[in-house]
């Protein structure tokens, strides 16, 4: 197995909230991503997914700061680079060429007074070293990219952002992010505003692009169905930390953290009768007042006194190749079972199917 394309070690990120105050939004992240993999980052609203995604590209806003850790990339030319040591100019080249991001709130990411065409022209010209981007070349490249996301280049390139629907803007932004063939693509809630048919078609496009160009994807999503469809690996975050990680099958069929299991149990099925749904009781902790011990303990049905003492680190459950190890940060993981019958049914349906073959 080759070395990872991105290695994250003990990464922590804080936001300044006052002159002497700050809050830690992401803590102690360790992650190895291998070429061609897709990782889904899931977790409750406010748990630090966007912060981590921005951190991976050093795109944090002014008051956000990486307070510890390292971020090492293998670049297109095979060399390795520590992103945290990179100076301004190499960093500018790194972004969009080596790694790109589709921002959450994509709908608002376009400059409202600039037509979509000029967004493409600016990105291509700003980040491509040496290459000359004529109007025709931009048009050709942008047209090709927009078609990939099911948009009509003719109309969209000439439009101002407000003339496009929410989902159309989101798709245009995905097209823009892959304009310079990055190796790593971070997508933050890339399909929140998209209906299922468009989502499916984009998922298929991403799969094909990934096969063709072999890029590595981190996508942040609250949509577990999408994660099941796109991801080889899943990492669950809670209160700024990764609390469970593993292959998509490990996480969806056999989650071992009570929070992950709770998320899967809360999925609303489309088929069948309307179920009575339970949300996970309680609220995510405020960054300003983290509980001692396991951060999930005030909400956890399995919590014991031991859970309130020391922070619970990730520990290995099942070893797997290429960073796909199943690891969990829970003292009582052996008690955790998926409760939802629908998933059981689906799982047994799948098993039954393969048994018949």
């Amino acid at each position: 197995m080759s070395d990872p394309i991105l290695s994250v070690r003990d990464l922590s990120i804080a936001y300044r909230t006052g002159r002497k105050e700050s809050v830690t939004a992401v803590s102690g992240i360790d992650l190895d991503l291998y070429e061609g993999q897709s990782l889904a980052l899931v977790g409750e609203s406010g748990c630090g997914k966007t912060t981590l995604g921005l951190g991976l590209l050093r795109l944090l806003p002014n008051l956000g700061e990486i307070t510890s850790g390292s971020l090492t990339y293998r670049l297109k030319d095979g060399s390795r680079a520590d992103l945290l040591q990179m100076k301004k100019e190499p960093l500018r080249r790194f972004r969009w060429n080596e790694a790109a991001m589709v921002f959450q709130g994509a709908m608002n990411a376009f400059n409202p007074v600039i037509r979509i065409f000029d967004h493409f022209a600016d990105t291509l010209r700003d980040h491509a070293d040496g290459k000359k981007w004529t109007k025709a070349a931009v048009e050709a490249r942008a047209g090709e990219l927009l078609e990939t996301v099911r948009l009509d280049p003719d109309r969209v390139l000439q439009s101002y952002p407000h003339e496009l629907s929410g989902g159309m803007k989101q798709r245009a932004l995905i097209a823009l992010a892959i304009a310079l063939d990055p190796q790593v693509l971070v997508l933050d809630e890339p399909t929140t505003a998209l209906d299922l048919l468009t989502q499916r078609s984009i998922v298929q496009q991403l799969h094909e692009l990934r096969k063709k160009f072999g890029f590595t994807m981190v996508f942040i999503t609250h949509d577990l169905g999408l994660a099941a469809e796109l991801a080889d690996r899943v990492a669950t975050m809670y209160a700024g930390r990764i609390i469970e990680t593993g292959s998509a099958r490990d996480i969806f069929y056999d989650p071992k953290h009570p929070y992950t299991a709770g998320l899967i149990n809360a999925v609303m099925p489309v088929k069948g009768d309307r179920p009575a749904l339970e949300s996970i009781p309680g609220y995510p902790p405020s960054l300003k007042a983290m509980p001692d011990g396991c951060a999930f303990n005030p909400r956890c049905a399995f919590a014991t006194d031991a859970c309130k003492q020391d922070r619970v680190p990730l520990s290995l459950l099942t070893e797997r190749p290429s960073g796909m190890d199943h690891s969990v940060a829970c003292l009582h993981h052996d008690q955790v079972r998926l409760a939802r019958s629908a998933t059981d049914q689906l799982a047994s349906f799948v098993e039954g199917e393969s048994a018949n073959v």
Binding site: Y15, T17, E44, S45, G46, T50, Q104, G105, M107, N108, R150, D152, R155, Q158, E163, S165, G166, G167, M168, D188, E189, T192, A193, D195, L196, L197, T198, Q199, R200, S201, Q204, H222, G225, A228, E229, A231, R249, F252, G262, L263, I264, A266, V267, M268, P269, V270, K271, R274, L277, E278, S279, I280, S286, L287, T343, L346, A347, F349, V350, E353
Partner: protein
């Protein structure tokens, strides 16, 4: 009284003039929302959901047709009636990033409307009421959020501040445009339950836009779903009927595209594309006849591309616009629904029987 619609759209059209010619984003829709009821609007990106919602909220003037609130035509309201309507009907913007003023704290955003409409008398009351609103949307403890600026909030937190703001004025009608799209399942269920209490206990009506059919099903179970395609409603009926037994080929395709959180199932389904084309036709150059025909798996040349199918009632408690379905219905009496199995468009025939 309580059965008279709160909101009524009749023949509502919206054509946008652009440099490249007119864009008919909404081509004549008739919809109603009753007190304490939910009407869900679903459909592909760009089909006109937001445009319909914005006209219903009085943010744009339809180019044809009418919007009525409690029986009053919006275009003919007096200034006082309009003020009333503005308080009673709250629109929650699709994009929580664009909808919040970046220079205002959460408290200032929430209290602006409270003060303007005299709901609170002083700052202490305003803070208490704002805190109460934040609690309704699971932003607790409220003190952690009241003095934050939008840029200090995550996407889902912004979305919930937007919802909280719309609840401040005790609206009669809420127009929610993808208002739970950035929330994880657990918070989403909790927020839907909160909105459900407004619906059931305070008789608030909802025009509810979502691309998530599970959300539609959960929230609008006792209500209706209208499926839009290229600016028109193509199937409209009670939620359990439309989701459980979709009949328009387009609705079938939408429901067939659902992803379940199951990696093996997802991989098995990945290649199964049931539409003839993924391309959404341009609004400026709509296909002749049924606008869905270039993509429809049940397309019949000569029938489908000749005339536009009208939105007609069927015996199975819904309206839909499809030549083939209506014809088969007429042929196969009395139990016409059986013939719908002949219409392809569901990715998972195995589970169809369970629907």
């Amino acid at each position: 009284m309580s059965n008279a619609p709160l909101l009524k759209l009749s023949g509502m059209e919206q054509v946008f003039e652009t440099k490249k010619g007119p864009v008919p984003a909404v081509g004549g829709v008739d919809l109603e929302v009753k007190p304490g009821k939910v009407l869900c609007l679903v459909g592909e990106s760009g089909c006109g959901k937001t445009t319909t919602a914005r006209a219903a909220a009085g943010l744009t003037k339809p180019t044809a047709g009418t919007v009525e609130f409690r029986g009053k035509n919006l275009a003919e309201m007096t200034a006082a009636e309009r003020g009333q309507y503005r308080r009673a009907v709250q629109y929650i913007h699709q994009d929580p990033y664009a909808a919040l003023n970046p220079t205002r704290t959460v408290f200032s955003t929430l209290s602006a409307g409270l003060k303007k409409h005299g709901i609170v008398k002083n700052r202490t009351e305003a803070r208490a009421k704002a805190a109460e609103l934040l609690q309704l949307v699971d932003l607790t403890p409220p003190e952690s959020y009241l003095d934050s600026y939008p840029h200090q909030l995550s996407g889902g937190q912004r979305q919930r501040v937007n919802v909280a703001r719309s609840l401040a004025l005790n609206p009669d009608l809420l127009i929610c445009d993808e208002s739970t799209s950035m929330l994880d399942v657990s918070i989403r269920v909790s927020l839907l339950n909160t909105l459900g209490r407004l619906r059931d206990e305070l008789d608030v009506g909802f025009l509810f836009i979502t691309h998530d059919l599970a959300v539609a099903k959960y929230f609008a179970w006792d209500g209706e779903i209208a499926v839009m395609y290229l600016g028109k409603v193509v199937e409209h009926g009670p939620t359990p009927e439309v989701i459980g037994n979709p009949q328009h080929p387009y609705t079938k395709a939408l429901i067939g595209a659902v992803c379940e959180p199951d990696p093996d199932l997802a991989k098995a389904n990945r290649s199964a594309e049931q539409l003839r084309s993924a391309e959404i036709p341009s609004l400026r150059d709509l296909p002749a006849g049924c606008a869905f025909h270039p993509r429809c798996p049940a397309f019949e040349p000569g029938l489908c591309d000749a005339a536009e199918p009208p939105l007609q009632a069927t015996p199975s408690r819904r309206k839909l616009s499809c030549h083939v379905v209506h014809r088969d219905l007429q042929r196969a009496t009395p139990d016409a629904t059986l013939t719908f199995d002949a219409v392809p468009g569901s990715r998972r025939p195995e589970t169809e029987s369970a629907l």
